[in-house]
């Protein structure tokens, strides 16, 4: 009997106009999203290679260590292959960071800051399609699942037979779910095949696993709205009421809660602006430089050569002093900056954590966080990259200062071309699958719990549903 109900539900939906419409819409949108994702990724890849070559050439053309230290060079982030599916925050944050002894490490301009028009409507990626379009379609598939059958009288006719209600709702749920997933799965399979035919979209085994997990998350997310639709339909007597309630819940889940969460977190846990932090760091830098100048003057007063014979020895001592005091100045700066930065990052993290946790009341936020964790296109990966630049800047500054002092020729205009053979290289290891999965587990759990909650609600409500 269960099989008959599932089959009936499938046949009823597949022969309806809404299925044809959903299938066409999903196919067009999914393929469009994947093509857009692939094109963006390929453009980013070309941009990345060009940027790396340009940076290398700039680096090699530096005339001396002092220019290298001050002017620095740029490190560009490797594009994430899974940004073809989940854009994440990639376009909202910069793709490259300047490394120098003068500039506080941080990412440069983003795609949105250089082309604000893109920020107006956001990205058309697969996650957007699932988050907005498919969640709405899930509601359209289920808002009349129970109340609609009551209105048309088929529920009474079916339950006039020796048909247990639990079997009826289970059959309806399975049948409707299959008919909802079909229009998504088929275009997704086509999209994956398309991904494989582009040679520069190089998907490794781990990437396929990540894609599998992202798709699982998509299905869980759609299931949340699907079971919510069933639940509301089993709690209302008219399908128009059910649709109205569901649309209100959808708007709350998809748009209001995520935005309200960020505002609420900002009020509860305020964070100083980036400009304030930069000003604090500038003050530290100025203080360190003043100290350096003062110690330089004092040293000069005490060690000024009295005879020309002492000149050469003075130069050597002066170089040693400069190297030492530069080191001290940097160490002081680093220590103070680290304190400011740690405090700032801690408050930022606290605010972010609060915003994320509040927004997780919405399944749309859980989907975004989970998908971004799994595709390595989220805030966490961005923070890791910035952190790696920060650590690297300190290593680079130490290296370049030593080189600068060792090659300093006082009183000479001769410039020593930097030898880059032993320059420490920036390395950034993207997050491994296990760590990404650990971060995505709360989101998987939230979505699964919501499904259980809504389905149980629908099930229990239907057992007592007034079919008259």
């Amino acid at each position: 009997m269960l099989r008959d109900i599932i089959f009936k539900e499938l046949l009823d939906t597949i022969s309806s106009l809404k299925f044809v419409f959903t299938f066409l819409l999903c196919t067009v949108l999914v393929l469009l999203a994947v093509f857009t994702g692939i094109n963006n990724y390929r453009a980013e890849l070309r941009e990345y290679h060009a940027s790396v070559a340009l940076n290398r050439s700039n680096l090699e053309s530096q005339p001396n260590y002092m220019t290298l230290a001050g002017y620095g060079f740029t490190v560009t982030k490797t594009p994430q292959v899974l940004s073809t599916i989940v854009t994440g925050v990639q376009n909202a944050v910069g793709k490259s960071a300047k490394v120098s002894t003068n500039i506080d490490p941080g990412l440069g301009d983003s795609k949105y800051s250089s082309s604000p028009a893109f920020a107006i409507f956001g990205e058309l990626d697969l996650t957007f399609i699932v988050r907005i379009v498919l969640s709405l379609l899930a509601i359209l598939f289920t808002f009349d699942a129970i109340s609609g059958e009551k209105e048309q009288g088929t529920l009474k006719l079916a339950l006039a037979n020796s048909l247990p209600r639990d079997r009826l709702i289970l059959g309806k749920a399975i049948g409707s779910f299959i008919s909802l997933i079909l229009p998504l799965v088929i275009p997704l399979i086509i999209a994956l095949l398309i991904l494989t035919i582009y040679p520069d979209v190089n998907l490794l085994r781990e990437d396929w696993l990540r894609i599998g997990l992202i798709f699982l998350m998509f299905i869980l997310y759609i299931s949340v709205f699907f079971t919510l639709g069933l639940f509301v339909s089993a709690r209302t007597l008219r399908s128009s009421t059910s649709l109205l309630v569901l649309l209100m819940v959808w708007v709350t889940f998809v748009t209001i809660i995520p935005k309200a969460a960020v505002i609420t977190a900002g009020v509860i846990s305020p964070v100083p602006s980036a400009q304030e932090i930069a000003a604090q760091k500038d003050a530290v830098k100025q203080e360190a430089y003043m100290g350096y100048q003062q110690s330089l003057n004092e040293w000069m007063e005490q060690n000024r050569p009295k005879t020309p014979e002492e000149g050469k020895a003075f130069q050597e001592k002066f170089k040693e002093f400069l190297e030492q005091s530069q080191k001290e100045m940097l160490a002081y700066q680093e220590e103070k900056n680290a304190t400011i930065e740690t405090g700032y990052q801690a408050r930022k993290k606290k605010q972010e954590g609060l915003a994320f946790n509040i927004s997780r009341l919405s399944p749309a936020s859980s989907l975004m966080f989970g998908a971004m964790s799994l595709s390595r296109t989220g805030i966490n990966e961005n923070d890791r990259f910035v952190q790696s630049i920060r650590s690297y800047t300190s290593v680079f500054a130490s290296w370049v200062n030593v080189k600068m002092m060792r090659n300093l020729k006082l009183g000479s205009v001769e410039q020593v071309k930097p030898d880059l053979s032993d320059m420490p290289q920036h390395e950034f290891k993207p997050e491994n699958l296990k760590s990404s999965l650990v971060r995505a587990i709360p989101d998987f759990t939230i979505l699964s719990l919501l499904i259980i909650l809504f389905f149980t609600g629908a099930f229990v409500s239907f057992l007592k549903y007034d079919v008259r």
Binding site: K156, N161, S162
Partner: protein
């Protein structure tokens, strides 16, 4: 056999929809329940189908207490509603197939369904037509086909001729007569006193949840059913 013993239903809002209904519908009998809107006719059917729980009393189908074993009891009853809607995107045959399977008939062929539809005089070209294109009369006939296919010993009909044109109603009544002849116990709730007079073996008049009068065919033909019914209705209005 359909049997109601002191069947009572009082809703949460205090409304007494059915007040100690006692009736029996025997095999090969058509019992018509007449009454105004809200008299309790549909409530009685809903209690027999376990769509609502009685406040007191017992609805029995073939001696099985519906409240205690609804799934077993419903094996022996078919139901035709006032406005049979079915699944509009399905053809008549697909609808029959689904409801036949729910009714426990699993192995019917396309030809079997066509044969059943011929029995109720549905036109041949409508067998594979989508039900959303059916007229009300055709849908009612399809509804009774579902009941015929289930072949249950008892049939509950809730205003089955409401909204049908005279020809369709006459055809419907003819089908019911055939089912009675097969030995089915039929309980039909209706406003249609003329159809009741035409087909019923017994009629009962319901007023404010109570069965106030029962007459056999011989009695109501002799006493003028229309007059009796109008008298009860006028009392209700007064």
């Amino acid at each position: 056999m359909l049997q109601a013993t002191d069947l009572t239903k009082r809703y949460e809002d205090g409304l007494l929809a059915l007040d100690h209904l006692n009736l029996e519908v025997e095999e090969g009998e058509i019992f018509c329940l007449l009454g105004a809107n809200g008299a309790g006719k549909t409530t009685a059917i809903n209690l027999f189908l376990n769509f609502i729980d009685p406040t007191s009393g017992t609805p029995l189908i073939n001696g099985i207490d519906v409240t205690k074993d609804p799934l077993e009891a419903k094996k022996y009853v078919s139901y035709v509603s006032e406005n049979v809607m079915l699944y509009g995107n399905f053809t008549a045959r697909q609808n029959l197939d689904f409801f036949a399977k729910l009714g426990g008939k699993k192995s019917l062929t396309k030809e079997d369904y066509h044969m059943y539809m011929r029995k109720v005089s549905l036109p041949e070209n409508s067998f594979e037509m989508r039900v959303k294109n059916y007229s009300k009369g055709m849908r009612q006939k399809l509804g009774i086909t579902i009941a015929i296919i289930k072949d249950a010993q008892n049939i509950l009909l809730d205003e089955p001729t409401s909204g049908l044109d005279p020809k369709a109603a006459a055809e419907f009544i003819k089908i019911l007569a055939g089912l009675r002849n097969q030995g089915k116990a039929i309980l039909m709730c209706t406003h249609d006193i003329f159809r009741a007079k035409e087909i019923a073996d017994r009629v009962g008049i319901m007023k404010e949840g109570r069965l106030v009068m029962v007459r056999t065919r011989e009695e109501f033909l002799e006493d003028n059913l229309e007059r009796i019914y109008l008298e009860y209705m006028q009392e209700a209005v007064a």
